[in-house]
Amino acid sequence: MDILLEFLGQSGFANVTLGNLVMIAIGITFISLAIVKHYEPLLLVPIGFGAIVGNLAVAPGMSLSVYDEGSVLSYLYYGVSQGIYPPLIFLGIGAMTDFSTMLSNPKLVLLGAAAQVGIFLTLIGALYIGFTPAEAGAIGIIGGADGPTAIFLSAKLAPHLLGAIAISAYSYMALVPVIQPPIMKLLTTREERLIRMKAPRKVTTREKIMFPVGTLIICALIAPGSLVLIGMLMFGNLLKESGVTERLAQTARTGMIDIVTILLGFSVGASTQAQTFLTPQSIGIFALGAISFAIATAGGILAAKAMNLFLTEKINPLVGAAGVSAVPDSARVDQHVGQEEDPNNFLLMHAMAPNVAGVIGSAIAAGILWSVLVG
């Protein structure tokens, strides 16, 4: 009888807090949004389920949670805390990304740079609120709209905020179809939204092969901290484009990225224990994250409008919003908003250029923040 009572004292009924129940509810919400609304299901389902598991991992004296040494979850979380999973995700993304539209639209690359202003203004905002510089840098990267990059930088600069930053980044990425359209309509005129862009030119195989090598060298020289992320992204892309390593590219973009996605999503979710997650800091992070996405969107649009002052072939400023990354949702939102004005205007292929450039831009920004702010 003693054993039963003692056992019950360890059970979840005795140890789960209200905060844990809140987090479990949030996990269920994530899963529901993924299933019902189809928001980023490949991430929200693992993160949501991980959050449920993590908030049930509260038995005293048992090694269960990601923070308990020797627990299974702690081993799975190791790839997050050491920043190993994000580059492997980037490998797979590189192996599935066709950079053709960007290669045929070099000037649209600049829109992917402009949108990174969200990162740095958010950093200033986070400093203002009282976060330390390292924390502020990690929070700013939410504006990069790139989950793996956010996790990678948080692991380096502010591991204690990693859960909140990752959840914030993925939440807003899932909400891109909700967040971006009003800002896009606010900052553009109907005439601008009606602009049609010239179809991109053909891109040769040789260009596609030389692109990853050159881009890696440029980015790594200018921002060494971006080496691992961009290195893996470009490595994956070279495997895809080389024409002689298709079987490696195929594995990188299927089995390998799937395995890493499962482990990353689940263990990031499991790290959101109420005890460390439900803090005032997290609320600040979520607020700053929303601002960050808005600024980034505006930055991309305004940059497009600014470029139009000098260009004869005008850019539809809607594609600027795709510079935030959040590939490919953000580009699809551009297309959608554009078609509200003109159903025959196909912006998607144009929007993909700033979209993928934004991934590179965020990785460079992460590299800078890492080298400037690290210990």
């Binding site: 740079a113 400093l127 510089p133 179809a199 040769t204 040789r206 298709e246 025959n344 800078i368 400037v372």
Partner: protein, 120 residues
């Protein structure tokens, strides 16, 4: 909450540095990919002859179609897509033997080698 935090944390310096470097990086990438086709064009005489067979064009929809009937576009897109996936499925099976000549048919005849072909 104070502007002092921003100043102490070198917030402005980091932001300016950051945006400068991000732009510098992507401007260089932009220039690189703008210059790339011309460089390849010029340097390509030798290489082109060698690799003419391989250089296939990307599947970007050609300019003339960009304002055409969307249903047509959709149809073309669908076919391109389908062919590409088909190619991918085949690629999956492809191995790394050199595929360039007579020789190849003989290897096939043996029917033994395939599984070894991707060996390190």
């Amino acid at each position: 909450m104070s502007i002092d935090n921003v100043l102490t944390g070198h917030g402005l310096g980091i932001a300016v540095t950051g945006m400068t470097v991000v732009f510098a990086g992507l401007v260089l990438v932009s220039l690189y990919i703008r210059v790339l086709p011309r460089v390849l064009e010029e340097a390509g005489g030798l290489a082109r002859r060698r690799r003419d067979r391989q250089a296939t064009d990307s599947t970007v929809v050609p300019a003339a179609l960009s304002s055409a009937d969307p249903a047509l576009l959709a149809a073309i897109g669908y076919v391109l897509q389908a062919e590409r996936e088909h190619a991918l499925a085949l690629d999956d099976q492809r191995i790394t033997l050199r595929e360039d000549d007579e020789e190849q048919r003989v290897w096939t005849a043996i029917g033994k080698m395939r599984t070894l072909a991707t060996r390190m």
